[in-house]
Subunit: 354 residues, 5 copies
């Protein structure tokens, strides 16, 4: 399947209300984690079913349900009915190949985005879908696989950093998105470093190796662009949202989030331009080196071709070649050869060929 756009023929024409997993299964078993907190209390537990989860919820607390692995459609249906979320919203959570989006309802807000992972070894970037649904006291996050992505937030909740423990799911949603966006910036900067390193070698020693790197990075930058651009739109939508579920206090945080995604976005465009420039520079350098090679060949050929001809003339076996019989003919020939060489070299020097 194409890396940049995934689509399955058999899913075309399916009802938008059908809760069907439309992505690739990335974990064996779905994992359910619950963190339940307010300023004073804090509970963290791993659960087996959504029923169990519901029982553990405390209505006055903020509850964060983290679901890793989306293939369990029966679980999804339970979530839909327990939390009173429309079927097609859950169906969209399961469409992991679709674009980031934001839906705003009276009771809850649903948003989805992509998380990025940079594999330093293969220098490839992978993306994973993240969906978040939150109402006034619960946030459910849906990830495709188990990861430590959000550990800093868990840590902040555990350590009672006042702000987060004192706030509702809107602040939590912001905190999660903040990590996602910071990670975008970090991923871009990791790739950017590699791109900037290329710069010095291109003119001095152009090699197929450089060319392969430029090509590779170009593909990754395209992938980043394709992933981050629509996420930017989603965050812009979130900032403009006029919902009661989002308290005024986090508006400036959202503003900052927007500023950060803008930074990621601009930097990608920046690196894209730089890569295009690098390719152009590379190409031009290669063309320039070609001139050098051919100047070299031409100088050599042009010097030796006439003198070889001169020698050839006196290698002929005609009965009557008067020059052959003068005593100093041979040296005169040498003289002619040397003059030719000198004339040639002077000519090339004047043309600044070397």
């Amino acid at each position: 399947m194409a890396r940049f756009l995934k689509s399955k023929k058999e899913l075309i024409g399916i009802s938008p209300d059908d809760i069907l997993f439309k992505g690739e299964q990335k974990v064996d078993k779905t994992r359910l984690r619950l963190i339940d907190y307010n300023l004073d209390e804090f509970h963290e537990m791993e659960l087996n079913s959504i029923n169990e989860t519901i029982e553990s919820l405390n209505e006055n607390n903020t509850s964060w349900i983290n679901i890793d692995g989306l293939h369990d459609t029966s679980l999804m249906k339970e979530i839909s009915s327990h939390f009173n979320i429309e079927n097609y919203i859950i169906a969209e959570v399961l469409e992991t190949h679709k674009r980031p989006k934001i839906h705003d309802y009276d009771d809850y807000i649903m948003l989805s985005t992509k998380m990025l992972q940079y594999n330093a070894e293969t220098e490839k970037i992978f993306s994973e879908n993240l969906s978040i649904i939150f109402n006034n006291n619960t946030l459910i996050s849906f990830q495709e696989r188990v990861g430590d992505f959000f550990d800093p937030v868990r840590e902040r909740i555990r350590k009672n950093r006042r702000r987060i423990r004192n706030s509702g799911p809107d602040y939590l949603a912001f905190a999660l998105l903040d990590i996602v966006v910071d990670n975008y910036i970090h991923t871009v900067s990791l790739l950017g470093e590699k791109i900037e390193e290329l710069d010095d070698e291109l003119i001095r020693q152009p090699s197929t190796d450089n060319l392969e790197k430029i090509n590779k990075y170009k593909v990754e930058v395209s992938y980043l662009r394709k992933t981050i651009k629509p996420c930017r739109e989603m965050i812009l939508g979130l900032c403009k949202l006029d919902s009661e579920l989002i308290s005024d206090q986090i508006q400036s945080h959202l503003h900052e989030l927007q500023n950060n995604i803008e930074l990621a976005n601009e930097s990608i465009d920046n690196y894209r331009d730089i890569l295009s420039d690098q390719l152009n520079i590379f190409h031009t350098t290669v063309a320039y080196k070609l001139n050098d090679i051919l100047k070299f060949l031409t100088i050599f050929s042009v010097i030796f071709i006439p003198i070889t001809f001169i020698a050839g003339i006196y290698g002929t076996n005609f009965d009557y070649i008067p020059e052959l019989h003068y005593k100093y003919s041979y040296f005169i020939m040498w003289g002619a050869i040397l003059s030719t060489v000198i004339v040639m070299i002077t000519y090339f020097k004047r043309k600044k060929w070397f």
Copy 2:
């Protein structure tokens, strides 16, 4: 006729109210299919004339009239008069070469778009016009040829998937457009896969074959772009429409439709950039290989040209060439030749030519 823009001289200046078929006839006989349903009832039949159709319509049900083949202008005129649709709207349905559009009237909404078909063998994409006219209880869809494109929707209606049977022509219109757009995404992804496959070969083994593929895919991507871009506009227009004929419930579906066409659109731009990059990389690789070829030629020439000259000198037939008569002259010449070769090779090694 051009593939990207079709126009017939004889149709210029025709009155917009004239019901004239302006496309190419793609089927022999127009086919009329009627599906008539509500939550409880379901009728599906193939009909011969529009009169027969009208009789079969049940006003309280949702009726879907599917017309395959547009060349029968008398049928079109009947539709115009029976359903009270202005002549120029029907005339626009018959202009299959024009852009997707949307017209919003009090009684009905008319929209047209393009359906795409990917021929896996020729790797070419074809498009067909689709027009939809619907009022509060009837939807008429006009296709250029008979196809199984909308079978998933028919299946959903037949199987009484509650949502679709319970909704009016607006939901049906959405369901049809949804398939159209999902198909865009699928078509783009099929082409995209081919494009991504190209990536590996370009640097290692550039061949005319690759070049032809790049060219071919570029044309197809242009064709996709040209087809999908205006359709995106149409769907944006549909989302912004403030019509009584569109119920509030399907607003979020339209929102999702818009998100999907955006995905198709973005992906095309993505693949377009990738193809341009590939062409650049290809060109640069070819230029780089040229350097290799010419380094090879130059090294060989530059080594052999002077030593061939040395041999040539001693092939001359001058009466008096002192060197010829020393006993070891021949071996000295070999020595000179070998030194030249060694000097040359050292020089090239230092210049890192090999």
Copy 3:
């Protein structure tokens, strides 16, 4: 004078109210045609002066005055005074080199645009200025030369196609613009066909001929773009106009007109991209062929250079060359030569040079 932008030094600083012909005279004599009609009546006549025209006008009918040839400034002044049109509007009609524009006054609307003509032989496109001024019962059209461009409209009026005979000058203006825009589309499609035909030859047999065509078409596409883009703006302005002179009924026609000019415009951008791609493909193909040529030369040179050297060695006339005197030396030399050739060929085969 430049083809893309015409400007005369002596016209700089002229008062905008001066009625002066600023273009090139394209006909000898101005031709005045009047068509006067309502649903029942129809008069068509060729006239000699504007006074004569005025007399023939029937206030309750729709009158279409067609003026071919703009150099007769006294006629223009008469029009200005008879129809109460401000001097600078008539002055703008005479500025045939300026951009399409639209002016909306209480009494009349003035609009100007360009008509295109494709010369199939020279494959060049020419443009001519068209200005239209209409009030509630009269439309005056100004063309630079006599032509059959609007014959389909005249035909429709003559044949009493109800719609046009029943409508006022606004519908007539639309009908004229419709022909202009349909002609744009047709012109683009004619050029487009030529461009698409180029596609197949480019990789298989690149020739200067192709290159010249690409260049030529690029210029024509630029010309089309330059001409159609501002016309699109004018039509958008017309659609947004809130004037009593434009009846509600023709709004959807204007909408369609806009859709058509959009089609022309998009297609031009499309063909422009295609031409750029073709040029890139052409260049890359040429670079690729160069590699082939030079591989060929290199293989030949690299094989023959060393063996010619071997022969050269034994053409020297040293007194003492031991090898010369062995009986099989000559055949050994041949052996050496053949081995060299085989080694070389094997080497190139491995490098996949042929």
Copy 4:
């Protein structure tokens, strides 16, 4: 100093209210000209000081004070105090390197723009700053040097072309800007003509001369673009201005002015694209010619290299070369040579190399 952007280090951080000349002095002495007119009266005089000017002003007339040369800061301060113009506005008039701008105050409007001059000999374009300040009865224009740029306007005032004598400073300001913009169009068209002329030579006879021209024109087009783009913004601002100082009657003139600057602007973009295309065509042509050159070289080399080798073989001095002694050997060699040549030529013909 850079031609495209001028900046002086010592002027950084200066108070915006300081009346300091920040450009380059282009005339020795400031020249003050006053034209004072109404429908009946007309006075034109050259003055020495601003006091003298003030005395000559007639409040009921329209007065046009033209100042050529901006280095006299004491004069500038007098203007500031006499006409009650804020210091920083006068300071901006003196910043001749800044962008065109428009300031709208209750009492007066200040606008600045660039005037262009095309030097036909060097084919270079120069720009000069023009600032205009006008209130309800006086217009002051500030130019960097004495010129005949606005003579047509002076002529119109002198000859009592009713419109201009009957209008206030707003019409005068329009008339001046009209000349500026017409001159833009003219300058672009002069350069455009040169660019279009290039087109024919590029493919048939590409030369460094062409390349230098393309480069030169590209720089000039960039310069034009850089100058005209911000002026367009200024004029758009002027059109949108809702000031009592601008009478309704000149709105359509401003509209037309905007249309003209749009024309200049579009044409520049047009020529820019054409130049880029020309450079691409040139490059591709050069690459194509290279193939021709190398085909030629390759054909020649490939034909002669083997036959020279054959001759070389029989130039060896081995004691025992059986072929040398047959009577017809020499002719057989010629036969072999000719066959080789024929085979080669056939091969190249088939490959369509010539």
Copy 5:
């Protein structure tokens, strides 16, 4: 770390309220300077702690606290509490790698931007973060290192240039930003000068040196673009701000500031285009020179190859070569050689190869 985008993994997921220094420490010790002034009074002092500063503040004066060096987080916390600034605002001041931004609160306005420094020797541009927080009587500026950037403003305050001494922190903020933007323009113009200088050499004498410069300047222009673009956004935001902290009088100054940043921005885009053109011209020139080199080589080879072959023929040792024995054979050979040469030269002359 990448130059274009800096990001530290360990800072991902940190609470936005944490006052942590996130940049690189550029000075050893934080420096605190206070300037306190009104129209009559003026105090300037260097202080050790924020407490000391607070004591020195006079509420009726305008106070400017300049902080150089941001690593002292305890100082930052003091500022936060003394001036009643929210923690996350101070936290943002410490994020020196983030984008320019503007926050508008009832009590204070916070804005940040980048200051540029051009190192003439390395031809590299460096940027430093500047944050400004001001309320109705105090302005705090935060810089990363000690510099003389704002000395002109200090000078103006000291010398009692009336305007600045008479205004509040809003005017001071403008004055600081004005210097920043003027410096942008100056930096761009310095680089621009270098770029324009390149122009002449490119076609006459293309060298790797030029290529390296183009590459270098391209990187710097990208860096400038990346830095200035978001600053432009910030200033646009500032101009649109509707805050009581910004008096009406400085609106026109802000307008001018915006005009200046636009100038910087446009010029960068200008130079970017010029550099791209230069690279293209360079590449094309190199390709053109290649043709010259190879024409030279081809002419030489094509002339000498056949005549060397002729000489080779008569160097063969066949027993029976009739031509060898005619008396004038040798001269006839010379005749043949010269004819060949003349034919060749005529051929090349006709093809206009030299």
